[in-house]
Symmetry: C2
Subunit: 368 residues, 2 copies
């Protein structure tokens, strides 16, 4: 690689990223859904622009701050897929007054009463349905509650019911693709049951499903109108360990300088710690925690994973790489090593910018 890297740096392989995007666009076409990608993963105006050039017009974000950022950067149809925070009503109204379409998430029925009469223009409302993840959303069995919510929304001059949103994030806690498909099948069944029950009240309602594992591996999306995955744009080791992606699909790697070697314990210290990778981790087949996997950087990207070499501990700035003797001998102080991240969203959020393989720098929203 001809890039001059002297500090921990997030490398972006744009070809891999665009291939990930292309596959998800094809998935949407094949399943008859619309891809409304979640931008929380990259939080970058330049990456957003590349996605726009592929025909995407509507996006998802997870905070009003991200909504403001992407609205400033030319996006005018934004869903904030996070339980709407009534304390941010002024920000929402500013976005509405700027003329873009804003879609908010209602995850607790009490929020609708709090918001009644407080919007200054039209806002779309997605009702978040919980189909078993137990993070946020109204239980999908609560048909009557959701019906009364629709009545309440109709009484408001500006809140328009848009549809049902379901993020079955429990797919991240599975061990394999088959379990992911089962979770989705169960979630789709529940959401469609609810949809059919309320369809007479809202014949135009849309169903949107989130999460990268499901959107990647599920083919049967009957009743789903829109998909909103985020992580797929980069993928990461969590997705690779679930077999949701191949390791060659992972589009980001952290470049870290080697600063010390300890032969007696076959460990190498790199500049790359918890403030670069985050503390997210996986466990190897002997239940040992690790924080990243080694790849060798080259001019055109990086190698396959060197599977015996893992980042076995992180402190604030230090990463400790444990390797075998053969790998140990090939690495020298002053080398720059690559590491695939456990969780690309958190790693990108920490490193705050991207360096493409041909040397372009893309920004990341400063703090989310």
């Amino acid at each position: 690689m001809e890039l001059k890297i002297t500090r921990p740096t997030l490398l972006l392989d744009e070809n891999k990223m665009l291939a990930n995007l292309q596959r998800m666009l094809e998935k949407a076409e094949r399943t008859g859904t619309e891809l409304i990608p979640h931008f929380k993963t990259h939080q970058s105006k330049e990456i957003g622009q590349l996605i726009k050039e592929k025909g995407v017009k509507k996006i998802t974000v997870s905070s009003m701050k991200m909504a403001e950022y992407f609205a400033q950067n030319g996006w005018n149809d934004i869903t904030v897929a996070f339980p709407f925070n009534p304390l941010e009503i002024d920000v929402a109204n500013q976005l509405i007054e700027q003329g873009g379409a804003l879609t908010i998430l209602v995850s607790d029925p009490a929020v609708v009463s709090i918001l009644a009469g407080r919007f200054s223009g039209k806002v779309n409302v997605l009702v978040e349905v919980d189909a078993g993840y137990n993070r946020s959303g109204i239980d999908s069995a609560e048909t009557d509650l959701i019906k009364s919510l629709l009545t309440e929304l109709k009484e408001d001059a500006y809140m328009d019911f848009y549809g049902l949103y379901c993020h079955p994030g429990n797919t991240y806690q599975t061990d394999n693709i088959e379990e992911i498909r089962q979770i989705w099948a169960a979630a789709i069944k529940k959401v469609n049951g609810l949809k059919n029950a309320i369809l007479p009240l809202a014949p135009d309602l849309k169903v949107r499903m989130g999460d990268t594992p499901g959107c990647t591996v599920v083919e049967d999306m009957d009743g789903v109108d829109e998909i909103g995955p985020g992580n797929f744009i980069f993928y990461d080791l969590v997705m690779n360990y679930l077999n949701v992606c191949d390791e060659s699909d992972i589009a980001v790697a952290v470049a870290c300088p080697v600063v010390a070697k300890y032969e007696e314990r076959n460990q190498i210290v790199v500049h790359g710690g918890a403030v670069h990778f985050s503390k997210d981790h996986l466990f190897d087949d002997q239940e040992r925690k690790f924080f990243g996997e080694l790849v060798i950087l080259a001019e055109d990207g990086w190698s396959q994973i060197i599977s015996e070499a893992k980042l076995t501990s992180l402190s604030q700035e230090h990463g400790v790489l444990t390797v075998n003797q053969e790998t140990f001998n090939t690495i020298q102080i002053g080398d720059v090593l690559g590491f695939l991240p456990i969780h690309s969203c958190l790693t990108a959020n920490l490193l705050k910018s991207y360096l493409t393989l041909d040397g372009k720098v893309y920004e990341h929203l400063e703090n989310s």
Copy 2:
């Protein structure tokens, strides 16, 4: 609290912070050591200024980027307590040419040969000694190796041996204060053994010891000249769980808006996730993972910990607070709750600014 908070915000109680500083200054005086505080915890020019006003003249940081930042903000005696990265020689030389005193860490003897003849002015060299933590540093038993390193340093026009640095970070992995004291006693013994062996070669050498747990609870610092703790300025739940600090010493709390309530599972969703807290966690007495503890915000700060209420899961922006029925009933959507962080350094690095109780905003270095 009269502060208008609508988003996740890091609150700073300056009185608690200054009391923590005062106690550490008194500890230094009592033990005959000099406090050279580690600024990696706050990374803030304004907080640095408050520390300077208490008479501190020398500081420690953990990256060249932080060294640049604090040099720009009026500090002229800076130790970079991270294994020196030869790829950053140009930055080091720029700092040296600006006239400040720069102290670097040598944690692998090979670095000295790489750096020979490459500095453009005087640089102090602290040799990092590993007394059992096994992260970085030269094994404290390697007396001959360190002697030959001193000879090598003497041959260089600009690299001046300053002393021995030991960060016994294994104190963080203990269960109680007694173990911390034992680790320090063992580390001090090893470092002093090495010091006595090399003293004829370097009669003015200083011994510096790091880490907040040890600097807080150890009184017997015989042979130690300087202490470099960082976390003590804020402390956090890790320090509280080790009984290194009282919960009332913790000087930062994350303010998070309540966005949804789920009575059937006694859970409350707040805006406050992995991009605000980090994924660092502790385990409660039933081995359940948690990511922060609840405090009630008031005009003059915050309450004691509500011990039954814990952040039991985090995703990127969501925090799930699990509480008992009584607490559940007292919390409403639109409230702003406080949470003490597991690891204040990582939390501050994510939130990137501080709001004091009287409404001042202090910056945090953008990305480290």
